[in-house]
């Protein structure tokens, strides 16, 4: 399992695109503005937990809802 410190913005852009089923995600795109909802949010969080062993909550994702912000959050885990 890759260490949380190795996560990149591109990884998170890729993850958002896979879950949202769209190509239109940039580093600063807001997950919820791009069609993300509570159900899809759980899938982002389970993927992050699986890949980096980092368990985040809904509220943390709402506060860090772009690939760039989420990358920073994971890198600095547990913060």
């Amino acid at each position: 399992m890759p260490a949380p410190s190795t996560v990149t913005v591109d990884d998170m852009v890729g993850l958002f695109q896979r879950i949202l089923e769209t190509d239109g995600v940039g580093p600063d795109s807001d997950f919820f503005d791009q069609g993300g909802d509570s159900l899809l949010a759980t899938r982002v969080l389970s993927a992050v937990a699986r890949q980096y062993d980092v368990e985040l909550t809904f509220i943390q994702l709402i506060d860090a809802a772009s690939p760039a912000a989420l990358t920073k959050l994971i890198k600095n885990f547990p913060g």
Partner: protein, 437 residues
């Protein structure tokens, strides 16, 4: 050509309308003294209606959308603004949006697995799905046990399945669950309000669809005439009701599978429409009526989810600018327990729960319960639940005519199975089959 249509729900009336437009002489036989099938209007205030049955639609429901336009009806967007209420055993609490106070990663694990299942299913012919025999044998409850997901996901799963398909996990096969979720447009579409399958309702109530279709057919629709017997030979079909024999060249049976099996056929059919494993959709709807949508003043959306019940979820179904209506759903196992209570106990249980869940609201003025489990001419709602073995046994014959008898109803549509959209599509398909026969 003379056609008898059995059942004046959306499927039957759609088929009858198509066939009448083609010049057929159509008779629609309906067992109840009303049309509408699993749609039903509830008048919450003078001239203001809510849906006691099927209610919601989304942009992918293209046949329903075109019917709404053709009938001159309008839609109203569902609203989901504000905080939600959740009760998972530690007392009710509010959260932003629809985020339940559960372990999000655990829920994600569950949804990841459900996505895998729905992606693998063959939506047009679920019985041909890879590994169909195994998926058809296992119940959704058994599948969940095998996943080893976190307790929070296990608590959430029956609520999710209850909401999506009015099923207890023990009642449906994994194949049926995966098919149902896929057929309805996928997990996310089926679950979503804005942009999803619950984006809108019919303004004034979905029951108007059948009322208006039936009005155009006029006295060709005969109420309170349950069909008992369908005989056929090389020359035609004879349909016997409690009141009369109706002669026809072909018949469209547009009732749920269990009710189709209650009709006697001569000659007998090579296969039945349901098995001992086929369950009834377990949904009871409760409308709580307030002078106005008062929860909005408290920053609440009206959306709630409760593990304790009897209402597993509530949603704001208020008619625009009118009364406040919270619609509560009792589904799955809760519905079976609730259906056994007498009316007084049901009301007391709902009122007590609503007081716990929404302590800031006054008691609702009216409370209207629509119990689909106890409806003899629906036998459940949203739709029949295909249990273990059902898809392999019943699937290949869903739309195969029995001589001059054709089949319609939402359970015969692999597209939007269980929804109004599926019913309408099945009606069009059956009419085409009859015309081509």
């Amino acid at each position: 050509m003379r056609i008898v249509v059995v059942g004046a729900g959306l499927a039957g009336l759609t088929a009858a309308t198509d066939l009448a437009a083609d010049g057929a002489e159509v008779t629609v036989l309906e067992a109840r003294n009303r049309v509408g099938g699993r749609t039903r209007g509830v008048e919450v205030a003078p001239g203001q209606w809510a849906d006691g049955g099927a209610a919601y639609l989304g942009h992918r429901h293209t046949e329903l959308g075109s019917l709404i336009r053709r009938l001159g009806l309008a839609t109203v967007a569902t609203t989901m603004t504000g905080r939600s209420r959740f009760s998972f055993g530690d007392g009710p609490q509010s959260t932003d949006g629809r985020f339940p106070p559960l372990n999000a990663t655990a829920l994600g694990d569950l949804f990841d697995r459900l996505y895998e299942l729905t992606a693998a299913v063959r939506p047009d012919a679920p019985w041909l799905t890879p590994d169909a025999a195994r998926l058809d044998r296992q119940t959704a409850a058994g599948w969940l046990d095998g996943t080893g997901v976190h307790d929070d996901a296990r608590r959430f799963f029956p609520l999710f399945l209850g909401e999506m398909m009015a099923a207890d996990p023990a009642d449906v096969s994994v194949l049926h669950m995966a098919f149902y979720l896929r057929s309805g447009g996928g997990i996310r579409y089926l679950n979503a309000f804005a942009g999803g399958a619950q984006a809108a309702r019919v303004y004034g109530g979905a029951h108007q669809l059948c009322d208006l279709l039936a009005a155009k057919l006029g006295d060709r629709v005969r109420l309170a005439e349950p069909v008992r017997w369908i005989d056929q030979d090389g020359t035609g079909v004879s349909v016997r009701t409690d009141r009369a024999y109706h002669q026809a060249d072909a018949v469209v049976v547009a009732v749920p599978p269990v009710l189709a099996d209650a009709i006697e056929f001569d000659p007998v059919r090579p296969a039945r429409r349901a098995t001992a494993a086929t369950g009834r959709g377990c949904a009871i709807k409760v409308q709580l009526v307030y002078p106005a949508p008062l929860w909005r003043d408290h920053g609440l959306s009206g959306w709630s989810v409760s593990a304790d019940g009897p209402l597993q979820s509530t949603v704001d179904d208020s008619p625009p600018g009118g009364a406040g209506v919270l619609t509560g759903f009792v589904t799955g196992r809760q519905a079976r327990t609730f259906a056994r209570l007498d009316d007084k106990s049901r009301r007391a249980a709902v009122r007590a729960q609503i007081q716990r869940l929404f302590p800031g609201l006054p008691a609702p003025g009216r409370l209207v319960i629509t119990d689909w489990l106890s409806e003899p001419y629906s036998r459940g709602c949203y739709a029949a639940l295909f249990g273990p073995g059902d898809w392999l046994a019943l699937g290949p014959r869903l739309t195969v005519p029995h001589g001059r008898v054709h089949w319609a109803g939402t359970e015969t549509s692999t597209e939007f199975f269980g929804l109004m959209e599926g019913a309408i599509r099945s009606g069009h398909r059956a009419a085409q089959q009859v015309a081509a026969a």
